[in-house]
Symmetry: C2
């Protein structure tokens, strides 16, 4: 009965993630979205509602993608310390090679919007909680296997790790291009584990 959608909704969301990630919410105009997503104004608004809804869907999709990989890596890991190191190393690589430094979409959004938009705040909070759980479980496993020191509680270490992970993403967003800076931070972090 009806014409089928010509564009893939998820693919369009990925494009939205890109530009929101790069320019932020307030920095991205409706015209930016039209240009970057390759949709017409009408299709865009028909499909995603308004700008705020599109942003939230983008952020939620990003959260899903970002959490999935870390969670899976850590749960399947047989040496948590090594896996954590690999995760940090990957973050450093991304920070350095990203020609347009984007940092972390979640961190950027939480700084820009969390205190002014309650719905965004909810997403940020849910992300923090999930990440804390994922890291806590991982650390516990690492401690039981003897790969991570038991001197500090798993939850303490999890929060500590997450804090440094966020810090590194801010550093990247600020345009830090000196690999040594990142390596030093990672080195100090892992001296605790």
């Amino acid at each position: 009965m009806a014409r089928t959608k010509e564009f893939n909704e998820d693919h369009a969301l990925d494009k939205a993630i890109e530009i929101f990630w790069h320019k932020g919410y307030n920095g991205t105009s409706a015209q930016d979205l039209v240009t970057h997503l390759g949709l017409s104004r009408s299709s865009l608004y028909d499909t995603f509602g308004d700008k705020q809804q599109l942003f939230m869907k983008s952020l939620q999709r990003y959260q899903l993608q970002a959490q999935e990989s870390v969670k899976e890596l850590l749960e399947k890991s047989e040496n948590v310390e090594e896996t954590l190191k690999a995760i940090f190393k990957q973050a450093v690589i991304e920070s350095l090679e990203d020609r347009i430094t984007k940092g972390c979409f979640m961190v950027n959004s939480s700084v820009e919007l969390a205190m002014h938009d309650e719905e965004i705040a909810k997403i940020v909070k849910s992300n923090s909680q999930t990440m804390e759980e994922v890291f806590t479980n991982a650390v516990k496993k690492g401690q039981e296997a003897g790969h991570i020191s038991k001197q500090l509680d798993a939850k303490v270490l999890a929060r500590f790790i997450f804090n440094n992970y966020c810090g590194i993403r801010v550093l990247a967003r600020a345009g830090e291009r000196n690999k040594q800076v990142y390596d030093d931070i990672v080195k100090a972090v892992f001296s605790v584990l």
Copy 2:
């Protein structure tokens, strides 16, 4: 020959810091500035140029204020570890009691603008460098006095400390109100020193 200014320029800048800090650059409108600074549009533009210039002057003034206190505290300190603990404790207190969570103006600005405004990027970079130096010198002093472990280089520790400091400020901006989270991070950080 001429009429004297009725308002204090620095006091106006402090007001500008407040609102830019709270709402960000893109989130603050010209009307917001007029209302919050208590100046007329004309006086505002005559005195500070345009919005971007006012923002830069605000950020520079903030940088001066923020650096001054930390620098002085650490240079006068006789036990660097204790002083660093006090500085972190203070950051935690501010994060918790700040009813409108503002985080750190420098961190917020670097996330929002550093990659889109070269002049802001310069300020951010100069801030990072200065803070790194201040922390490095402090750590060196602490290591020589035996208050801080020599297991890691002073510069490594300085970058590590700064990273966690930024992370905590992001956490605050994101609206974290659980003191235990901050305390855990601080605990883990100081287990390295």
